[in-house]
């Protein structure tokens, strides 16, 4: 007997991750400078880390309530008012093991066999497999460089998303760094209402915006009742390894997600919940400092690409820029760059249609390394 004969179709239909292949290639190269990392290069703010340590010292190692500690849900409820969002800590917020778990819960709670899940591309690599695991049918919605990778009603129409049941949004975006303004979201919201979709809005990069404030589709008229918002502590607070996120939505939606969560996860890690609570209470300054550091690096990287003649739209969020490959072959470029110059980055095609011909360049690395990496990219591009 081999387990190979027993794999579920749901799992088998999902191809291996393209990012994994690049990770393996990069691991074989010595002294690699990586611009391929999808997490902050900072550690969690010290105050948050000490809160986690304190909680362990006090023996806080039991489960919490399924939905997360009440205090934490209250702090989250208070926090998100800065994005114009209002959710009741009692029954409209659930704390999860990373925003990733929350996204998975939503797929399982709201996607029926054969439901169509519209996913703007290029996109973070988990949405399509997540929809497939839940029995849904992913519908790629290509977005384009000339729109700065923003989602438009035209793009939704062209992809046939009017027939979809669910729309996934992720702005600020991984991998492109694209953001959407309130007005642009209003157009998407109109499409969504007209065609009666629900929206899963992954706003994990909400605090990493460099030109204007975060805008959420959930705050648009008629949208709150049909939107689940995801957020978390991984990106803004550099807490990826603590695995803590949350979802917010109408009570009946959060109830359904909690049903899955209570059986699959019970509760999010308690130690991380204490860290998160402290992060919300006292780490605004630390976040502000990280954000200004990212912003300096973002400008630096954009300026360097411009100088070397590589087209790159001005990404205004997350910690990625998404330049075009001169001859269009992103995989060959990424492999050649790794081989000749020891710089790792991720080819855009890994993130789905619309990503091909581009590169995801993460600036979550020190200025010192960025400077060297950009010089090496320049050397590779000019063939010197």
């Amino acid at each position: 007997m081999t387990f190979g004969d027993h794999l579920s179709e749901r799992v088998e239909q999902v191809p291996p991750s393209g990012i994994r292949r690049f990770f393996e290639l990069a691991e074989e190269v010595d002294d690699v400078i990586s611009l391929g990392v999808g997490e902050p290069d900072f550690s969690a703010p010290w105050a948050a880390r000490t809160a986690a340590i304190d909680s362990l010292e006090r023996g806080k190692t039991s489960y919490t309530s399924n939905r997360g500690m009440r205090e934490l849900r209250e702090a989250i409820s208070e926090r998100v008012t800065r994005y114009g969002q209002e959710y009741d800590p009692e029954d409209e917020i659930i704390v999860t093991t990373g925003a990733s778990e929350a996204v998975d819960l939503a797929f399982r709670a709201f996607v029926d066999q054969g439901d169509v899940v519209a996913i703007p591309q290029p996109s973070y690599i988990s949405y399509t497999p997540g929809a497939l695991f839940a029995g849904g049918e992913p519908l790629p919605v290509p977005t384009h460089a000339e729109d700065e990778f923003k989602l438009t009603p035209e793009a939704l129409e062209a992809a046939g998303a009017d027939e979809a049941d669910v729309l996934v949004l992720c702005y600020p975006n991984n991998p492109t760094g694209a953001v959407m303004t309130d007005d642009e979201l209003a157009d998407v919201a109109e499409f969504v209402r007209e065609h009666d979709l629900i929206v899963l809005s992954d706003e994990i990069y909400a605090d990493l915006r460099y030109e204007d404030d975060h805008a959420s589709i959930a705050t648009h008229p008629g949208m709150r009742e049909r939107t689940i918002v995801f957020n978390g502590f991984s990106k803004a607070y550099a807490m990826t390894g603590l695995r803590l996120g949350y979802a917010m939505g109408p009570p009946e939606a959060i109830d359904a997600m909690n049903k899955v969560h209570q059986y699959a996860m019970l509760s999010a890690p308690t130690t991380a919940q204490y860290a998160a609570l402290e992060a919300l209470r006292s780490c605004d300054d630390a976040v502000e400092e990280m954000v200004s550091e990212y912003d300096r690096r973002r400008r630096f990287v954009l300026a360097r690409f411009e100088e070397m003649g590589m087209d790159c739209f001005e990404a205004k969020g997350a910690f990625y820029v998404f330049p075009e490959v001169p001859d269009g072959d992103d995989e060959a470029f990424a492999e050649g760059l790794l081989e000749e110059q020891n710089v790792a980055l991720v080819p855009g095609s890994v993130f789905g249609s619309g990503g091909e011909g581009h590169l995801r360049v993460s600036y979550a690395t020190s200025m010192k390394e960025l400077r060297v990496a950009m010089n090496r990219i320049e050397a590779y591009v000019t063939g010197t």
């Binding site: 991750s17 990012i19 690049f22 990770f23 990069a26 691991e27 690699v32 990586s34 391929g36 990392v37 999808g38 997490e39 290069d41 550690s43 973070y124 690599i125 988990s126 991984n174 200004s292 300096r296 690096r297 400008r299 630096f300 300026a303 360097r304 790792a344 991720v346 200025m367 400077r371």
Partner: protein
């Protein structure tokens, strides 16, 4: 040219080239050079120094923090006393502080003998000085916002989603 952003950046790394500073601030190089000149001319930026972990330097290097009490009279104020103390090249830092004593001095020298001699022969005899307390630095863990440990390795996966 936002001078505050420029200062923040210099405080992180004063060795950045004017071009790299310009790229990070989204300004042009001439504007950055001009702003730097202005900051220096106005005395806002007084110098650029390396942050040294002296434990890793073979040469002997001794530092002490000295608390100094003074008694003022009608002719002499803090300013006059400070000017006299500040002239000594051994004095690296001199501040007037609130609390139990008046002046905080950081003294540097090549040996403990050098430093204690300096305090007893140059500072203590100043007529207005009534008391000194010298604290030799035994170890330093953080200087100018920079931790002096071995640092943390970047243990993130080299490529991740």
């Amino acid at each position: 040219m936002d001078k505050r952003s420029l200062l923040d950046l210099l405080r992180r790394d004063a060795r950045e080239s004017v071009d790299d500073i310009a790229r990070q601030l989204g300004a042009d190089a001439e504007a950055v050079a001009a702003a730097l000149d202005e900051l220096e001319a106005d005395g806002v930026v007084r110098g650029y120094q390396a942050v040294v972990d002296w434990d890793r330097v073979a040469d002997e290097h001794v530092r002490a923090q000295v608390e100094v009490d003074v008694e003022l009279d009608r002719e002499t104020g803090y300013e006059e006393i400070a000017t006299r103390i500040a002239r000594f090249p051994e004095v690296a830092t001199l501040r007037l502080v609130s609390g139990d004593y008046d002046f905080f001095i950081e003294v540097e020298g090549e040996s403990m003998h050098d430093v204690s001699n300096f305090v007893s022969e140059r500072i203590a005899p100043i007529p207005e000085v009534t008391k000194t307390v010298t604290h030799f630095v035994m170890d330093s863990y953080k200087e100018e916002g920079i931790e002096l440990g071995d640092g943390d390795d970047d243990d993130r996966l080299s490529v991740s989603p």
